[in-house]
């Protein structure tokens, strides 16, 4: 049976018009003649009947992509949250057809939802309407930080593992290597996704991405990136590190006893941008000249609480332990908003302590989970403290 030549993508025609087309074609067929394709007034070629004894097309493995899409769509819709979302990823690992079908479904489903499905989603913008809740766990023993997507409101439940980062010192220079694999945190690893580097005092940080943030981006040439030979997965993707953000800390000069000031400028991913170029085949087009917009974020100034004698920010219950590391970032420049103007009342990234080694991280569009994590790491790295 060769349905493959007969069916068009169901996205092009509604079910009703498919019926009409099939009917028009079939009405002209004589019942005694077994002709596979008869031209008719319809532009839809009629479906050909299975040839006698032919097995091809009669099994799951030879199913048409659009029919497979029907099944993938239902799986994706029903496995909306982690841990069930594992099944969506598993489907994408079965074979080429299943991978393509599932990635297409995920791509098309709920734009603006900031749903995390594949690792590539970690470099896509978060949700537009409400922040995603995450937990960061610190392990002082091995200088490692783990990022999880919260699955319950409890601060003691970890959730879905997203990224890990390990702090390394190179002389006067400190780096955090960020990876998809909690057990393999090196720049030469296949799971390497980027890094954060800082000066000695931790006042200026640079965020790097292992993948180009937009087409035509050039990798930075820094000493460390030339020191290793990275394993290239795809020859189309240049090796190296691409600068995607800067974070700086300053003492609050106006109120000398106040909390430090943070300024971040980051290249936020555009919603349609697909950062996971590794898994795209060579036929996929990369958006020309689509440089992601630069966002400028500043921390919201806490208010001095005379009665409690401390600086206070309203973390809405998501931060429960006072710490100089806690912050809320809002945008002064936001490329995702009309005119690029940021809403200084809208908190795009919130970070704070809830336990000895447990912190919450809440982020939303235009920040991606990767950028949010890197910015939060700077809070651990800076040595500027309140006086």
């Amino acid at each position: 049976m060769s349905f493959s030549s007969s069916f068009r993508k169901s996205s092009c025609l509604s079910r009703r018009s498919r019926s009409l087309a099939k009917t028009a074609a079939l009405a002209t067929v004589s019942p005694t003649v077994n002709q596979p394709e008869i031209s008719s007034s319809s532009s839809w070629p009629p479906p050909s009947p299975p040839a006698e004894g032919e097995e091809e097309g009669q099994s799951w493995s030879t199913m048409l992509p659009e029919l497979l899409g029907e099944i993938m769509e239902r799986v994706e819709a029903s496995e909306d949250q982690w841990p069930q979302r594992q099944n969506v990823v598993t489907c994408a690992c079965v074979c080429k057809k299943w991978r393509e079908a599932m990635r297409e479904i995920v791509r098309a489903s709920s734009p603006g939802s900031g749903k995390i499905t594949f690792p590539s989603c970690l470099k896509q913008p978060g949700p537009s309407d409400f922040p995603n809740h995450c937990i960061i766990k610190r392990c002082k023993k091995n200088s490692t930080f783990y990022l999880f997507l919260s699955l319950t409101p409890s601060f003691t439940d970890k959730g879905k593992f997203l990224l890990a980062a390990r702090r390394y010192r190179h002389g006067a220079h400190i780096e955090y290597i960020i990876s998809l694999d909690a057990d393999d945190l090196s720049q030469s690893s296949n799971a390497y996704v980027g890094k954060l580097s800082s000066d000695f005092l931790g006042t200026n940080f640079t965020i790097y991405d292992s993948q180009p943030p937009h087409s035509g981006a050039k990798p930075s040439s820094s000493r460390t990136s030339r020191r290793f030979a990275s394993k290239r997965i795809s020859p189309q993707v240049p090796a190296g590190n691409f600068e995607v953000g800067k974070v700086s800390y300053k003492f609050n000069l106006l109120k000398s006893r106040g909390p430090r000031r943070m300024v971040c400028s980051v290249k936020c991913p555009l919603p349609e941008e697909r950062a996971d170029k590794h898994l795209d085949d060579s036929k996929a087009k990369i958006a020309e000249g689509a440089a992601p917009g630069l966002a400028i974020l500043k921390n919201k100034a806490p208010r001095w609480h005379e009665h409690l004698q401390c600086w206070c920010l309203n973390f809405h219950g998501r931060v429960t332990v006072a710490s100089v590391k806690n912050f809320q970032l809002a945008a002064t420049v936001d490329p995702s908003q009309p005119g690029g103007k940021g809403d200084e009342e809208k908190v795009l990234l919130q970070f704070g302590k809830v336990g000895d080694d447990t912190f919450t991280m809440d982020y939303r569009s235009p920040l991606s989970p990767y950028l949010a994590f890197a910015i939060c790491l700077t809070s651990f790295g800076t040595k500027l403290a309140c006086e």
Partner: protein, 152 residues
């Protein structure tokens, strides 16, 4: 039961089924055909025989049961109806898609989705559905990375 017109449907292997019209038109394809060719008595069609019989059975049951029984019994009946092997499920899926019977298609895709969820890993899915791993060596590395990240 009200008397209603019957449609005669011929399947690819020339077997003729007499089906109540109200049931026959649950298939969008047949509904369109009867509208267009204006021939309620005899409609030409090609299809596989076995799924045809199953479709008719199911459609028939649906109409009767909608009138009589509660949802619980219907869903029990449906679970039993879909307890078939992968090959039969495949035929049901292809027939439901060809005949464009929404309710049957929903039932089959749900069942297939349940199968997928029950397979806890990629290898089991491949075995259940008879699918070969056709990733290139270069892609295998990425898939392995994806698989190892895919945990809680």
């Amino acid at each position: 039961m009200l008397l209603s017109k019957n449609s005669a449907l011929e399947s690819k292997d020339n077997e003729i089924f007499e089906v109540e019209e109200s049931i026959a038109i649950q298939s969008e394809l047949i509904k369109t055909m009867t509208t267009m060719v204006n021939s309620k008595a005899y409609v030409n069609e090609r299809n596989q025989m076995v799924p045809e019989a199953r479709c008719r059975k199911q459609a028939n049951y649906h109409v009767e049961q909608n009138n009589k029984i509660v949802d619980e019994e219907l869903s029990d009946w449906e679970s039993k109806f879909f307890e078939v092997d992968m090959d039969d499920l495949h035929e049901l899926f292809m027939a439901a898609n060809y005949l464009e019977i929404e309710s049957l298609l929903n039932g089959v895709t749900k069942r297939v989705g349940d199968f997928i969820k029950a397979c806890k890993n990629v290898e089991v899915i491949r075995q259940t559905f008879g699918i070969n791993n056709d990733f290139a060596a270069q892609q295998e590395e990425e898939i392995r990375k994806l698989n190892s990240w895919n945990h809680i």
